[in-house]
């Protein structure tokens, strides 16, 4: 009497089902990545504004990957003062800053930067690299006006 073949239709169907779930998960991950839900994509970019300033930023960041804050400010004088604060100031690593600020100093919660006003709307870009995983809050104010509060998620 010959031994039965080591084949189980049930095991094959189960394996196929697991494989299909794996494929679907993989493609969902790729789709989320392409859209920017996990950072660096079209759905990731957003903006917040008040009557004096508009800040464009990314909702989701990745650890040790630089991000940019693009600030458009309406100055009231010859200078624009930008104050940037974070829940964890030690992780604020601003570099580079475009255009270069005339003066800048570190404060207890972040940094204070003075730029020459460019006439009309002044545009600035602050590049920064997150150093810690989790949710963080960054506050940006221009010329002591109302602070804009930004919440960002930093992924591993």
């Amino acid at each position: 009497m010959s031994a039965p073949l080591p084949f189980s239709g049930y095991a094959a169907r189960k394996s196929r089902r697991v494989q299909l779930i794996g494929f679907a998960t993989l493609w969902l991950l790729v789709l989320l990545g392409a859209l920017g839900v996990l950072g660096k994509g079209p759905l990731n970019e957003t903006a917040i504004a008040n009557d004096r300033v508009k800040v464009e930023y990314e909702r989701v960041l990745r650890l040790r990957a630089s991000t940019e804050f693009r600030i458009a400010a309406s100055p009231t004088g010859p200078r624009v003062r930008v104050e940037i604060e974070s829940t964890d100031p030690s992780e604020l690593e601003l570099d580079p800053i475009v255009p270069e600020p005339e003066t800048w100093r570190v404060t207890a919660h972040g940094a204070l930067l003075d730029f020459a006003a460019q006439g009309g709307e002044t545009r600035l870009a602050l590049r920064e690299t997150p150093r810690r995983i989790g949710v963080r809050e960054v506050r940006i104010a221009v010329d002591h006006a109302e602070r804009l509060s930004i919440r960002q998620v930093v992924l591993p």
Binding site: F23, G33, A34, L38, R62, L63
Partner: protein
Amino acid sequence: MPPVLRIAIIYAFLMLLFRLAGHRTLADISTFDFVLLLIISEMVQQAVVADDPSLTNAILLCSTLVGLDIALSLWKHRAPGIEALLEGAPVLLVHHGRPLSDAMHTMRVDVDDVLAAARLSQGLERLDQIRFAVLEKSGGISIIPEPGARD
């Protein structure tokens, strides 16, 4: 540009590049070819990873590469014409001991390559012992001996 899109472009470009390079490029790899591959991988790595060394990025890039590969294999399975377009087709190099010069020239294969494959796979010594020699899609040469060739 999102990293997922960057890796997809690199995948398509490399596929095109190696398709243009032909069957033999990776089958008969020399030390120089190996160094060339290392240089290519280094350049591609810089272009893809850019300034994002995060774990999320690495997971997404790996998933995209594997996902594209699975999608392409499914597509090739359903459309054989696509497989021929992307991977080429087997090419007959020797027919009843007679080398087909045009095919060999186009595929950059010479009689010595065919004889080497015949010795290695079948223990044959001469061209007239070969019924068919075929350059496979993988780049290897398969040999079908004439009946009684090994007697």
